[in-house]
């Protein structure tokens, strides 16, 4: 049964990849990248074997803890949770929960990230190859650690995805998950000060982390190597206990998810009147803007793409606060401008096949594009301006205000132009409406990342004039260059936006049916 379910996972993956060759390319590239990282890790660990034992211990504890933490929490932030085999779909089959648990764990380990993590974990034994007994213990601990990684990610997936029935509750939970992410800022402050005295502080961190569930198991071989068998036993117990506890929680969450499959028939949310539709003009453009803005507020997938907006100032503030030089804050405006400008990059992909309504009604591509641009501008333009002004204020560099506004607005408007163009032609693999916003599709993230990277490059080139002007202005303390930069940002950016919207609109008009086919493939 376990083997059968694991085969199902690979069958599903293979079928998904044959449907979309680009996704296959992305998976291959992702694998190559992973192999490269693995190679670096192995080389690094080999070097460590000739270093003092305490250093080897410190590195494996910190590295291992990062691995477990990353597996458990990072999928929420970036790559998403692999749900190739969705337990909820298996609910109708009479599969014992223990079998299902085992099958999901095995298929988690056998994915590309799972294999690379396991190999990297096992490679930690290379540190101790000169003392074979410790190396063997390290192999065992690495296996437990790698398994903890997989079980940790599965546990959080089961906890976040379908713990409770009802869409509302699920969405509320998604937002709850976002809060700890926002608290990353302060955590990064602590880390950034610590990194300053890395050599002296790292062993202390390692000692502390070694007593946490994330790092305990990785400390065992090191403990043995520096001659502390008692501590080693305690660490081993914590590590094994963690794995058992995580498995128990996962089992409980999975059991609950299977007993109460998501059915959403709660008539909780009602709204009188038309909402944004009454505020925007009664034209196709206004309607698209009203609809898009409603979605920005109601659809957790959009909220997910905005996580980074409060995160950027927090990280930069804590980082520059730690270094005592607040001028780093000036990067906040431009970074947020890029993020917000590019945030409508996957707008049509988020619509999924609901986009067919646009196609049926014969709305012009241009109205579609403008509507989406207007919706995001309603909140993103003030946000960009406020954050730019605030960063200038906090860092007390008022002489750079105009130039900074030039850069931020230029990047924002040009970003809108680019995303209007690209999203008029390409659909990306994104979570479908109602899905867990953190769910990933195999290779989807990577394809999106590749095209995003290309677009960022294009964005940097297109917004180069205002950036160069402003920076020369900063360097020469020439205020008027700042004003020219702002003017260029508005005129050049505005022109590019018009071109982007018209071109993207034309592409959408000409290729609407093909777009729908692409979207249907994502369904």
């Amino acid at each position: 049964m376990v083997a059968h379910l694991v085969r199902l996972r690979f069958r599903l993956l293979a079928n998904a990849l044959t449907r979309s060759p680009w996704q296959a390319v992305a998976v291959v590239l992702g694998t190559v990248y992973g192999m490269f990282m693995l190679f670096l890790v192995v080389v690094g660990l080999l070097f460590l074997s000739s270093a003092p034992d305490s250093l080897g211990r410190t590195v494996s504890v910190v590295g291992g803890a990062i691995l477990v933490l990353g597996w458990t929490f990072l999928p929420l932030l970036s790559s998403g949770i692999d749900e190739t085999v969705d337990p909820a779909r298996l609910a109708t089959f009479p599969i014992p929960i223990t079998t299902l648990l085992l099958a999901l764990a095995v298929s988690g380990v056998l994915g590309v990230p799972g294999i690379i993590t396991t190999l990297a974990a096992l490679a930690t034994s290379l540190v101790w190859w000169q003392t074979p007994l410790v190396a063997i213990v390290a192999l065992l601990c690495a296996a437990i650690g790698a398994l903890t990684c997989v079980v940790g990610s599965r546990m959080l997936a089961a906890l976040t995805v379908r713990i409770s029935s009802g869409r509302r509750a699920r969405e509320a939970k998604t937002v709850l998950v976002l809060i700890p992410l926002l608290l990353l800022g302060p955590a990064i402050l602590a880390l950034s000060t610590l990194f300053r005295e890395l050599r002296t502080v790292l062993p202390i961190i390692a000692d502390v982390v070694a007593w946490t569930p994330f790092g305990a198991i990785w400390a065992v071989p090191g403990d043995l190597a520096i001659g502390r068998p008692g501590t080693a036993v305690l660490h081993a117990l914590i590590g094994i206990g963690t794995l058992i506890a995580a498995t128990a929680v996962w089992r409980w969450a999975l059991d609950r998810a299977l007993e109460r499959p998501a059915t959403s028939t709660s008539f909780s949310h009602t709204q009188r009147g038309l909402g944004w539709f009454a505020i925007f003009s009664g034209t196709p453009t206004g309607a698209v803007a009203a609809r898009a803005l409603t979605y920005w507020a109601r659809d957790p997938r959009y909220a997910q793409s905005l996580i980074s907006v409060p995160l950027v100032p927090a990280i930069v503030f804590f980082y520059s606060g730690a270094s005592g030089d607040l001028s780093g804050l000036l990067f906040v405006g431009p970074i947020v401008a890029v993020l917000l400008g590019m945030s409508i990059y996957t707008d049509v992909s988020y619509d999924n096949t609901a986009f067919s309504l646009h196609l049926q009604s014969g709305v012009s591509g241009r109205a579609d594009r403008w509507g989406r641009v207007i919706a995001v501008s309603v909140f993103a333009l003030p946000t960009t301006i406020i954050l730019t002004v605030a960063s200038v204020w906090v860092s007390d560099s008022w002489e750079r205000l105009v130039g900074m506004l030039g850069i931020s607005l230029g990047l924002f408007i040009t970003g809108l132009a680019l995303s209007s163009l690209v999203s008029g032609r390409f659909a990306f693999a994104v979570p479908a409406p109602g899905d867990n916003p953190f769910k990933s599709r195999p290779g989807g993230g990577f394809t999106l990342m590749l095209s995003m990277f290309a677009s960022w490059t294009a964005l940097a080139l297109l917004a180069l004039p205002e950036m160069v002007l402003a920076i020369i202005g900063f360097a020469t303390f020439n205020q008027s260059l700042g004003w020219i930069s702002l003017a260029v940002a508005i005129v050049l950016g505005g022109t590019l936006l018009i071109i982007g919207v018209r071109w993207g609109g034309k592409l959408l008009d000409d290729n609407g049916p093909e777009m729908l086919v692409q979207l249907q493939r994502q369904k």
Binding site: R167, S264, T265, S266, F267, S268, H269, T270, Q271, R272, G273, L274, G275, F277, G282, T283, P284, G286, A287, V288, A290, R291, T294, Y295, R298, D299, D351, N352, T353, A354, S356, L357, H358, L359, Q360, S361, G362, V363, S364, P433, G434, P513, E514, L516, V517, Q520, K523
Partner: protein, 257 residues
């Protein structure tokens, strides 16, 4: 010589072809839907009904063939043709994070209608489909039947001359189904044309005055319902045309006792 407008068919499909990779989904389909008819499109699963209707309504580009609505070529006059067609697609999502009222309003405004007209018609349609009590509820929280009805309201708001409905009665309760049929009959009596695809032969036989049987991407029979079914029922005629009916009660192990 200008054609008599009453003789120009509501929908005329000729040589329509679509290939998905190896599979010929729609194979040189010819179909004429007279104006003012209630036209049923029946066929087994995977026969190409949805593909044909998608191409006929300008949602899927055909590989070959032409489609004209009231004499207007659809694929060279997409926007103009779409104004005349109301579509209910099967298996596509709706913008379901909008409330029912917002969704219908959205569909109306997208078609370029005036806000006041949209508001009036949206209210009418919600009442017509018994959805006014849930007009403020998000469509994602609707039942399957209510979702079908709200999608139908979206297809109707711009007062199309031709309604193309893919599986409109699926998962609709009997009362709502009867109400929808009344609305569609009223629409046909006033001169509109309705095309429905369905699996329910009884329903099509009772409801439609014209019918076409489609299987494996080809039209097997087409004409008035009485012509197509002859002396038997539509269901028997359909099985006779399409084949694949098996006789027997299934394997031994499936019989309890």
């Amino acid at each position: 010589m200008p054609e008599n407008p009453t003789l120009v068919p509501a929908l005329e499909i000729s040589g329509l072809t679509k290939r998905f990779g190896e599979k010929l989904a729609v194979n040189a389909v010819n179909l004429t839907v007279p104006r003012g008819s209630f036209f049923g499109l029946v066929g087994p699963n995977g026969a190409g009904k949805t593909t044909t209707l998608s191409m006929a309504t300008g949602l899927l580009r055909p590989d070959a063939g032409t489609v004209s609505v009231h004499g207007l070529d659809v694929w060279s006059n997409l926007v103009e043709a779409k104004k005349r067609i109301g579509v209910l697609s099967d298996g596509v999502r709706l913008f379901d994070r909008l409330t029912g009222l917002q969704l219908v309003t959205y569909a109306g405004l997208l078609s370029g209608m005036d806000r006041a007209v949209v508001a009036e018609r949206a209210a009418d349609l919600l009442e017509l489909f018994d959805l006014d009590a849930v007009s403020g509820t998000l469509v994602v929280d609707y039942s399957a039947g209510m979702t079908k009805k709200i999608a139908l309201a979206c297809a109707l708001i711009h007062a199309p001359q031709l309604l193309v409905l893919d599986e409109p009665f699926e998962s609709v309760d009997p009362v709502s189904g009867a109400n929808i049929r009344d609305i569609l009959h009223g629409f046909v009596e006033s001169g509109g044309t309705v095309i429905v695809s369905s699996h329910a032969m009884d329903l099509v036989q009772r409801m439609c005055d014209h019918v076409a049987v489609i299987a494996d991407g080809r039209v097997l029979a087409s004409g008035t319902t009485d012509e197509v079914r002859g002396s038997s029922t539509l269901e028997d005629r359909f099985v006779e045309l399409v084949g694949g009916r098996r006789h027997g009660k299934g394997p031994e192990w499936l019989r309890i006792s």
